[in-house]
Amino acid sequence: MLVLIKKKVDNKFIFKCILLLFLLIQSNFFLNIYTLIKHPFKDRMIANYGYCNNQGYGFIDQFKTKYNLSNNSKIINKNDFPSSYWFIDQFGEIKDYEYIIHIDSNELISNENILEQNFNCYIIKND
């Protein structure tokens, strides 16, 4: 039995396994799989695009369906980031928008039409 195992598990096989393991461990593959299972897609998107900071993915996604923000909104983010319109499947500014979304606003906004406010992000109904 031992002879059989020794024949199959020769040096070349062991070396190939080492090469494979080196690739998997060095690239944090197992950690990445754990992260993928533990943290759902939305959490990972918020970690990268921000909730109410950066591009405000978390805030926009939270109310996207409730107010049907797609092709209906103007997003104002004065920070230097790409436009967040694609989060709501809108690819540019439109003239007749129903909602104004402020992301990471520097000033305190007080408006009777504020529908939602989290930290310094707002959804305001356009008059």
Binding site: K12, F15, L19, L20, L24, S27, F29, I33, N48
Partner: protein
């Protein structure tokens, strides 16, 4: 957990589609990576054709399902090959990195994602003019949208896996032609990977597609002996590159010149047919872009004929422009180690490599890359040149480094053999 299964199924869809195609090859002794590359080239052209058809994606999907089932048995057979197994795992490792940080870069969000979304949401080629930068080609976005749409959970990052697959296939193709030991080949793969890997460029950008396809051509040019075979694949590669990015139209020039000068006599029938075919491909590209946008423009208004002539003859700013351009080029050459190694091997080439045609060709292509990029930036408006250089030159140089990966490999391999 379901997202984990989504990743596995989507990955296997790509592996099965492109790996171990029996339907294109009669000769089962062709090396696996050559088969994979040829499958990629043929399928990308098929994707291009279907991208012009309304409802093209659904027809393509059903055809691909059939092909995947045909390939299943051969894929399982290929797993016994260590290099193929390693290749699959290498892909999975990089797929995992994209999955963990499913973010898009600036151009990815602003330019390429909208095109992909167009196809994802059932749009067609004609709808592309409703999105920003409709003068940019769409093939990369179409392929992205296809694999995004037909994944389990429809997350966009899955569509970007195919770029990683094509990139790694082009690297594994390089070592597939040699008879080195496994250790040496794996070390060379790692080396080539580390000098050419930039995770940011998988964030919705298209540069890796052009880099990989140029790399594939160069490998086939020097390693493949079948002339008629190379004729068709060169045309197919050119056809893909010009539909990935506008810069592809310029960056295929070395491919055309390399092919022409590959013949013993330059003025012969093969070269005539080749140039005629290239012209037809280019005319089709320009025609379809004009159909979409009303007119053909190369990168918006920056490169109109009148603008190009006026700016290229304006020597008042050439001094300051050159200084800025060279500064940013030097930054790029250190950012991407492939360029640093290229300089080292151009100055200190291996003796055997220096005596071959490869060295001269590489030198000429390098001079071309330098001059063409200097020209591209010289004809830009000097007021915004610094900004343009800081945002674009590294990616342009990255695409061109596809011409030099094989040259770097040959030098490394020879130094290994001699030591």
């Amino acid at each position: 957990m379901i997202e984990f299964y989504n990743v596995i199924i989507s990955s296997f869809m790509i592996f099965l589609l492109f790996s171990g195609n029996l339907i294109f090859f009669k000769d089962h002794n062709i090396n696996i990576f050559k088969k994979i590359i040829f499958s990629i080239i043929i399928f990308l052209n098929i994707f291009l054709v279907f991208s012009f058809l309304k409802n093209g994606m659904i027809i393509l999907f059903y055809s691909i399902i059939v092909i995947i089932f045909i390939n299943l048995f051969n894929f399982v057979k290929n797993i016994k090959n260590f290099y193929f197994l390693y290749f699959i795992l290498f892909n999975s490792v990089i797929f995992a990195q994209i999955t963990i940080e499913p973010i898009l870069g600036w151009d990815g969000q602003a330019i390429w994602y909208p095109k992909a979304y167009n196809y994802f949401s059932g749009g067609s080629f004609d709808n592309l003019n409703e999105f920003t930068r409709s003068d940019y080609p769409h093939l990369g976005s179409y392929v992205w949208a296809f694999f995004w749409k037909y994944s389990l959970l429809k997350y966009e990052y899955v569509g970007r896996y195919v770029q990683i697959f094509i990139y790694l296939s082009s690297l594994f193709l390089i070592i597939s032609y040699n008879k080195n030991s496994i250790i040496r080949n794996i070390v060379i793969i790692y080396f080539l990977f580390y000098i050419s890997y930039d995770l940011d460029l998988f964030r919705g950008y298209q540069e890796y597609l052009i880099f990989s396809l140029i790399n594939v051509y160069v490998v086939l040019h020097y390693e493949d002996k079948d002339q008629s075979f190379l004729f068709f694949y060169t045309l197919l590669i050119i056809n893909i590159i010009i539909w990935v990015k506008n810069e592809g139209i310029i960056y295929i020039i070395p491919i055309i010149v390399l092919f022409i000068f590959r013949q013993k006599k330059i003025f012969n029938k093969i070269n005539f047919y080749f140039l005629a075919a290239c012209l037809i491909i280019l005319v089709f590209r320009i025609y379809m872009s004009a159909q979409l946008n009303g007119t053909f423009s190369f990168q918006g208004n920056s490169f109109t004929l009148s603008n190009t002539i006026r700016e290229s003859l304006d020597f008042s700013t050439i001094g300051t422009d050159l200084l800025l351009i060279i500064k940013h080029f030097i930054i790029t050459y250190f950012k991407y180690p492939a360029w640093t190694l290229l300089f080292i091997f151009l100055i200190f080439p291996n003796r055997e490599v220096k005596s071959k045609k490869l060295y001269k060709d590489t030198l000429y292509v390098f001079v071309f890359s330098l001059l063409i990029n200097i020209f591209i930036f010289h004809i830009q408006d000097s007021a915004i040149l610094e900004w343009q250089l800081s945002t674009a030159v590294d990616r342009l140089n990255f695409m061109l480094s596809g011409y030099f990966i094989y040259f770097i490999y040959r030098n490394i391999n020879k130094y290994f053999s001699q030591s």
